[in-house]
């Protein structure tokens, strides 16, 4: 019930931003997120709103855990 995808902020004017998910751009609102996000940051985009700012370290840590081969 929650389709959200990672998007890169490419332009910002106050609480509005232009976000890119590659070659597709969309105007989005930043007013819901908790931590400030700027051009160059990634956010989770849901129904036109950023709902969370993605931290690279957290993503990399998850990948590291996933890659471990268990005995």
């Amino acid at each position: 019930m929650c389709l959200a995808i990672p998007a890169l902020i490419v332009e910002k004017h106050g609480n509005l931003a232009k976000a890119s998910i590659g070659a597709v751009l969309r105007e989005i609102s930043l007013e819901l997120i908790d931590r400030p996000a700027d051009v160059g940051d990634y956010v989770l985009l849901h129904a036109g709103f950023a709902i969370h700012k993605i931290e690279k370290e957290e993503a990399e840590e998850t990948l590291r855990i996933m890659r471990e081969v268990l005995e």
């Binding site: 019930m1 389709l3 590659g22 129904a47």
Partner: protein, 335 residues
């Protein structure tokens, strides 16, 4: 002349005559249509005649990469091509909504002219009617087409056979996403354009290397999944598709992610999927890749005797799922 279409333009009187002569014939001009006879009389080569018709009600009528006029011409040229016919001529019927700007009509007719010229298929006749405001979405178009099927060619949705290779002529989802990107309420920026194109040249090239194409269709409404299902159903065979072999442009994939759409159900307008015997596959693929509209061709799967009527997808991460036909309308979702 007025700047918009009025009811009088469709009534058969002076206004109608002027519309046809001054507007329509500026864009559609050839020996046959100039005769203004009640029917076009053509000489066809002996053989089986292919005959098709389609109506176009696309909204919006102008979209990135095309419009309803070009779409209609290409659509009918392609329907003829899909049974292996060489298209000979098409007709164009317009139902115009009162109030349609004349400039829009000119744009559409220019698009028809250009598509007809590119395909090398003349518009030999047509009709124009006008309906009151609200009775049409600006323009409805019908095109009918006639062509000749060469001897020895027998292409049908019911001819696919176990062992056949499934070849797709290029990336999927382009048209549907280009159109959706312009719909109110779901605007996003992309430089994606519709893939509307005439495929008669591509098909002629394919028939130049083989007479054994078993089945062939253009995956329009309902997308690739629906078309594959129709063929699987009618031929009584199963189809296995490798997701990683299906070309999808990154922007299309991204737009589908944004809107929660499955690209396998998104409409295409300039692509075909062909079922050829395994021993012909390489030759066909090779010749397709040498054409303008087939350069992205890819072998995407095989026909099998198992699970008749069903299409199975081997997913990009190594799983398996069933690709069902589309049910109802494809709508964006947030959940």
């Amino acid at each position: 002349m007025d700047q918009v279409i009025r009811l009088s333009h469709g009534s058969g009187g002076e206004a109608s005559r002027r519309l046809v002569e001054e507007i329509v014939h500026t864009y559609l001009d050839n020996d046959v249509i100039r005769r203004l006879d009640d029917s076009a009389v053509l000489v066809l080569e002996p053989g089986r005649i292919a005959f098709t018709t389609d109506s176009y009600v696309v909204d919006p009528i102008f979209f990135p990469g095309g419009d309803i006029g070009g779409l209609a011409v290409n659509g009918t040229v392609n329907d003829l091509s899909m049974v292996g016919a060489s298209p000979v001529a098409i007709t164009l019927s317009l139902i115009l909504e009162e109030g349609l700007p004349l400039a829009s009509l000119r744009r559409i007719l220019e698009s028809v002219r250009a598509a007809s010229a590119e395909a090398g298929v003349p518009v030999v006749g047509g009709d124009t009617k006008v309906v009151g405001k609200g009775s049409a979405d600006l323009v409805f178009v019908n095109t009918s087409g006639i062509g000749v099927v060469p001897a020895g060619v027998d292409i049908s949705s019911s001819n696919a056979s176990p062992g056949d290779v499934v070849i797709l002529s290029g990336s999927i989802g382009d048209h549907g996403i280009a159109v959706l990107s312009k719909r109110q309420g779901i605007d996003f920026e992309t430089d994606l354009v519709s893939d509307t194109a005439p495929l008669n040249g591509l098909v002629a090239a394919m028939l130049g290397v083989t007479n054994s194409i078993h089945a062939m269709r253009d995956p329009t409404r309902g997308g690739l999944a629906s078309t594959l299902n129709e063929i699987a159903e009618r031929s009584g065979v199963g189809i296995v598709v490798e997701e990683s072999a299906v070309p999808v442009r990154p922007a299309v994939a991204e737009a589908c992610e944004l809107l929660g759409l499955d690209v396998f159900y998104v409409a295409n307008e300039g692509k075909l999927v062909a079922f050829v015997p395994a021993e012909e596959a390489n030759a066909v693929l090779g010749v397709m890749r040498g054409t303008r509209y087939g350069e992205g061709s890819s072998a995407i799967g095989r026909v099998v005797g198992d699970h008749p009527g069903m299409v199975v997808l081997n997913t990009s991460v190594g799983g398996r799922r069933i690709l069902s036909p589309l049910s109802g309308e494809l709508l964006p979702r947030i959940c």
